[in-house]
């Protein structure tokens, strides 16, 4: 148990194991993404009410799911780095923030694109949309705080505290926005989710969600590797790696 724990603290070990994981995860992600997205976008039957515009859920829903999950990945990594002083958790937290922000942005953007033909407007102050927007702000706050520190060790710790504060706040924010909306506006635009989604539409969606999770993992690992190389650029193993370039 402890040896695994110590191994996770070792940059060269993490670098090589993430390389090994990426070697099969990256192609698998690409295949899943291509299959899932083209299945969803090209080969499913159009919705009887929304026609073809509904197809954006194959990008929108997975991006939103992963954006939310990404915040928890970031906050938990932050907690681990605060509690056990694990450097690699700090690297993971730093790497997760911009990726999570990107996924949140994709979810918001695709939502707006879908909203225009369906609701007739790019943006409504709906509870879910508003809380996704706040989630984007929380992500960007972490990125901005990290960049503001010159001492990167302190930056990591400060971001960990901030992301934990954010994690405590996300349910509060979500509930408050939910209540605020339902009190102040009639439910003229109801996000009527099909609870009984047709299997022919559901399976590609499931595949897309899986593919987006894998994509997030790939991005996270790639980002972590870049960060590791940058941080450890003066150490022996990175120099060795650089001189033996071409053989990863």
């Amino acid at each position: 148990m402890w040896s695994i724990f110590h191994k996770f603290g070792s940059p060269p070990w993490l670098y090589s194991i993430s390389g090994a994981i990426l070697r099969w995860l990256l192609p698998a992600t690409l295949i899943a993404l291509i299959v899932g997205v083209s299945w969803g976008l090209l080969f499913t039957s159009p919705d009887f009410r929304q026609g073809n515009s509904y197809r954006i859920i194959y990008i929108h829903v997975p991006a939103a799911v992963v954006a939310l999950a990404g915040y928890y990945v970031m906050a938990l990594a932050g907690a681990v780095s605060l509690i056990w002083r694990m450097k690699m958790a700090d690297v993971a937290m730093k790497a997760a923030a911009p990726i999570g922000a990107a996924f949140t942005f994709i979810a918001l953007f695709t939502g707006a694109v879908w909203g225009k033909p369906t609701w007739g407007t790019w943006w409504v102050w709906d509870a879910r949309i508003t809380s996704m927007l706040i989630l984007l702000f929380l992500y960007l706050g972490v990125v901005a705080l990290y960049e503001a520190f010159d001492n990167k060790e302190a930056a990591g710790k400060a971001c960990a505290v901030l992301s934990l504060v954010g994690m405590v706040n996300i349910p509060i924010i979500y509930k408050s926005v939910d209540w605020w909306y339902s009190l102040h506006q009639p439910a003229s635009i109801k996000f009527t989710e099909k609870s009984t989604i047709d299997p022919s539409m559901f399976y590609p969606l499931l595949l897309c969600i899986g593919a987006f999770y894998a994509l997030f993992t790939c991005c996270l690992l790639l980002n972590m590797r870049a960060e590791l190389l940058q941080r450890e650029s003066r150490t022996q193993w990175v120099k060795k790696l650089a001189t033996e370039s071409g053989r990863n």
Binding site: I134, A148, E153, A154, K157, V161, I172, S176
Partner: protein
């Protein structure tokens, strides 16, 4: 000389902070002036029609209170960080958890509380119905205390940074939003004759939650900032 107990230490810190604030009265007046001026901007921007202003008044007053709290949050730990007394506080045997509460208490007493007490004047200027004024004061009293606590987290995390001013707004504005929602909703409900008590109760619950948890984050943040 024996070290004072935690409670005594806390009271002394609070008195020190208040004394420091009272000796520089302009620092106390600044947020209130800011509040007055921003409130004056809204009729200029939205037009002076009384009905329109009355509709916007709850939101305007709450957002303005939030902004003036935000601008003062940055300075909570700043001067003590610059002269090194914050470092002494971290070394003191008394728990940092309670010491930061004293700082925040002093901050709230000199900004949020005063702001809540003068808010009826501006409420009347914005044509807020009289029946809602009491709710406005209570909601501001409860809400600004939460804002001070949450703002303290941002202040603790950014106190070591030279260019913290803009950053702190980015960090804590998302965390301010629930308070704004319930504070604004309380006044809105009172304006339209609905009971505001549920919203005030939620603000109270948020305050309890923030009092319990925010000092932990603040203490952690201060330790990080001092170490950096």
């Amino acid at each position: 000389m024996s070290a004072p107990g935690a409670a005594q230490f806390c009271v002394r810190l609070l008195r020190r902070q208040l004394l420091l604030a009272v000796r520089r009265p302009i620092e106390i007046a600044n947020p209130l002036l800011f509040f007055a001026m921003v409130v004056a901007l809204f009729p200029l921007g939205l037009g002076p029609s009384p009905e329109k202003l009355a509709g916007f008044a709850p939101g305007v007053l709450w957002i303005t209170a939030l902004l003036s709290n935000l601008l003062t949050s940055d300075a909570v730990f700043r001067s003590d960080f610059d002269d090194g007394s914050l470092e002494q506080l971290l070394l003191a045997p008394q728990p940092l958890f309670l010491s930061v509460l004293a700082y925040i208490g002093a901050h709230w007493l000199t900004t949020g509380m005063l702001l809540a007490l003068v808010s009826p004047v501006f409420a009347l200027m914005l044509n807020l119905p009289l029946q809602a004024v009491g709710t406005l004061v209570v909601s501001l009293l409860l809400g600004t205390a939460v804002l001070s606590l949450v703002g303290g987290i941002g202040a603790a995390l950014t106190v070591g940074l030279k260019r913290g001013g803009m950053l702190i707004s980015l960090l804590i504005l998302p965390l301010y939003m629930p308070v704004l929602i319930f504070g604004g909703a309380a006044v809105q409900a009172a304006t339209s004759g609905f009971p505001a008590a549920p919203y005030l109760a939620i603000l109270g619950a948020l305050l309890c939650f923030a009092v319990a948890l925010a000092p932990l984050a603040m203490a952690a943040g201060l330790r990080i900032s001092i170490d950096a």
